[in-house]
């Protein structure tokens, strides 16, 4: 087990290095640069040239890459060209929001998705099954921006039940401790702030959950259908085991294996999904920041963020493999 972990972590180094080279080349090949992005229609040719020379963007790409990798070795991701602040500081400031939103979406997708997928499989062909399958298709197809507009229109504008955007109501007394709003409210006894933060999480959480929920429903359904036709389920039934035991110990446990893998992979995609969802709801996490970094050609921020996502993906994959070996005794790690 330990050897596996060490080997996988070592594999991370060439993976991230290769990725960083490709990324650097790609980002620097994008048309336009920070100068035009910063000054918009005021960016004259002269001012643009000046900024590019001041930022070292007029030097060969390999020189720029060498400089970037040297700084990375010192764990310095450079400064955001949008805000003039260290990229690392911008990330740590905004990550709690993204993690809070991601966890909300994941919780929603798992809590609703697994039972829905399971019962859709158990009642194959019924209205529940058809609704779950077609609903999940809609969840995958509807763009998050459109979903955001619809959700806000119904629940914030027309019904007035939920806030339409942001993380917390302006003017509410909320002391920041960890940056996780819900947790901070509990820690400081400001339960109003906690509750307010939960309300602000519902709409973006549902929007961000739309794709993972759909995927989990479909994977769970397919997996349960497959397991239900397995010999060991029939054997368990013929042995006269109680249905609840069969469902819990034989069907659900085995059917959940591919779902666990999917959930792991979805965690990474939640990070990238947050880019659109946070922008749509002005949520102020890393996602909104990256969206402006893309249009602002904020190279250091983009490099740092994409490498971070890659790192998360690799680590989650590793975690999924380890979890797999724990819940499936057939998997032999060594």
């Amino acid at each position: 087990m330990l050897r596996l972990v060490v080997r996988r972590l070592l594999q991370l180094i060439p993976t991230l290095f290769g990725l960083s080279v490709l990324l650097f080349l790609w980002i620097h090949r994008l048309p336009g640069g920070p100068a035009s992005a910063l000054l918009g229609e005021r960016a004259t040719e002269e001012s643009r040239r000046q900024i590019e020379s001041q930022l070292g963007l007029d030097q060969p790409v390999w020189v720029q890459y060498g400089r970037w990798i040297r700084r990375l070795a010192e764990l310095d991701l450079g400064n955001s060209t949008q805000t003039g602040q260290p990229v690392w500081d911008e990330f740590t400031l905004r990550f709690p929001a993204t993690i809070e939103l991601g966890l909300t979406a994941l919780l929603f997708a798992v809590v609703v998705g697994i039972p829905l997928g399971y019962f859709a499989a158990r009642r194959r062909g019924t209205w529940l099954d058809v609704t779950a399958v077609s609903g999940s298709l809609i969840g995958i197809c509807v763009p998050v921006f459109f979903l955001a507009v619809i959700l806000r229109s119904v629940f914030a504008v027309n019904l007035g039940w939920l806030p339409s955007g942001g993380r917390i109501t302006t003017g509410i007394n909320a002391t920041e401790v960890t940056g996780f709003r819900v947790l901070d409210g509990v820690l400081t006894g400001e339960f109003d702030a906690s509750w307010d933060a939960i309300q602000h999480l519902i709409l973006p959480g549902v929007a961000l959950a739309s794709i993972p929920l759909a995927v989990i429903v479909r994977i769970t359904r397919a997996s349960v259908l497959e397991v239900l036709s397995e010999d060991y389920v029939r054997t368990a039934e013929s042995k006269g085991l109680r249905k609840s035991v069969i469902r819990a110990r034989h069907v659900l446990r085995n059917a959940l294996l591919p779902v666990v893998t999917t959930i792991g992979l979805l965690t990474g995609s939640l990070l990238s999904g947050a880019v659109l969802t946070e922008s749509a709801f002005s949520f102020g996490g890393i996602g909104s920041f990256i969206r402006t970094a893309i249009s602002g050609r904020d190279h250091p921020t983009l490099m740092g963020f994409i490498l971070f996502i890659a790192l998360v993906y690799v680590l989650i994959n590793l975690l999924v493999d380890l979890t797999y070996s724990l819940i499936d005794p057939r998997v032999r790690v060594n």
Binding site: P31, N79, G84, Q85, F119, V157, R247, S282
Partner: protein, 557 residues
Amino acid sequence: MRIARPRAAKMFAAAIAIGLVATGCASDRDDDDNGSGGDSDVFVFGAAGNPASLDPSLGSDGETFRVTRQAFETLLDHEPGGTELVGGLAEEWSSNDAGTEWTFSLREGVTFHDDAALTGDVVCQNFDRWYNWSGTYQNTTLSYYWQNIFGGFAENESEDAPEPNYVGCEAPDELTAVITVAEPSANYPGGFSLQPFSIHSPDSLAAYAEDDPSGGGEDITFPGYSQEGGTVAGTGPFQITEWNKGNGEVTLERFDDYWGETAGVDTLVFRTISEESARRQELQAGDIHGYDLVAPADVQTLADADFQVPVRGVFNIFYLGITQERQPALEELEVRQAIAHALDRQNIVDTQLPEGGVVATQFMPDTVAGYSQDVRTYDYDPDLAQQLLADAGHEDLTLDFCYPTEVTRPYMPAPADIYELLRADLEAVGITVQPKALTWNPDYTETTRDGGCDVYLLGWTGDFNDGYNFLGTWFDGYTKEWGFENEEIFDLMTEARTEPDVETREGLYATANEAIMEFLPGVPISSSPPSIAFSADVNPPTVSPLTQENFAEVSFK
């Protein structure tokens, strides 16, 4: 199977119950007077973007200035709702005949947020600070406006920096400041009204000096003090108390010792909501009290729902640019005239622009001094356009037409829709249009600036009321985006730029406008007011053609 049905039903019932509890408990949100957590004296405004810095000297964009303008004031200002220069921190101002010495008589009794008094010395300290900037501050990103209006620095550290035009500042007495420049410029006195040249308190300046940005020249590094409330102190009706970047909110509190009329609300919050539809829905939901850059399609909807949508004055130009170098046909005047006659610009104004928009006859709005009534005009006349193309032998003209996506500009609310109408106009007279859609930032601005399009859509919102701020932006010498040489126009602009006498300068602008519209380097399309909206329960500020609203005028009804 049957056993599980009630369980499934229970699970769904539980999920629905949780949702109902959450939303049910949330429904008491409706009881608030406004969207500010029940505090009826917090005014929340939805801004389209984050400020870059709380020190306006380091800013170059409207979202930064919208915030800092409430806390910092300049020597000169603009009349409320207009474009005429009026006194700001200076009650009176004058210059010598050569236009190189500017004398400002300061208001009495003006105090900064940290209790310091405004004096001539303090004004000079501010100007000397900018002039003596070094290191990272000389990066154009941080000192764009200083370099643009006053040139370079005491010690230029880069060959790219322009020669300084600022010479020095003296305070002959307590309430007078005299600023000397090397050459007269059309940028004075208008430049003294720009937010980057706001006056900061002496203690603030001392604190700034101790907080020099770290990092080399290869980083854009905004200093720490400019990123959090508390250090910066101006003389404005509000003081900046907090910038919560996580929430995208800047909070300002009323300054009770303000020299003028104190603000109508205790707390002013600018909250960043980058998506236009989100801003509209937050206003409709009562979570904010106002927002800027309203989509034209939403104006009537909001007005019908009793929201206030005051109309700003006009201070911008939207135009169809032509890059003559891109193909020989465009260097022929008849072809450019044909393009101008082909465009139904009134249709754009009627269908795509907010109320108050007008067809433009030249490259400045009629509110700018130097506007000429005698320019050559180009009415919508598709038959004449076809005739001109035939005479020039270019009936088969093909044009790369660039237009931006994912953007709303104050002068161009819906670029793709406008492009479609103009494309149809051009195709109606036999011109083949090849669309080139580019993301605004930075592909589009860069491609058009580099002369990468035959024709393109762009515009400009003025900084202050001087013709050079418009005409000089485009026609003071050769640029790739226009791709032409015309000594008559270039000479007129150079002459105007260095002419100290205002009336003479305005005459030169009028002559230049006439020459430009004869030569027709591009087609001015329209001038239109960018829309701004407020909830029904507030008294909105006087709206400004320069988008310089003073939020101290805001109060709740």
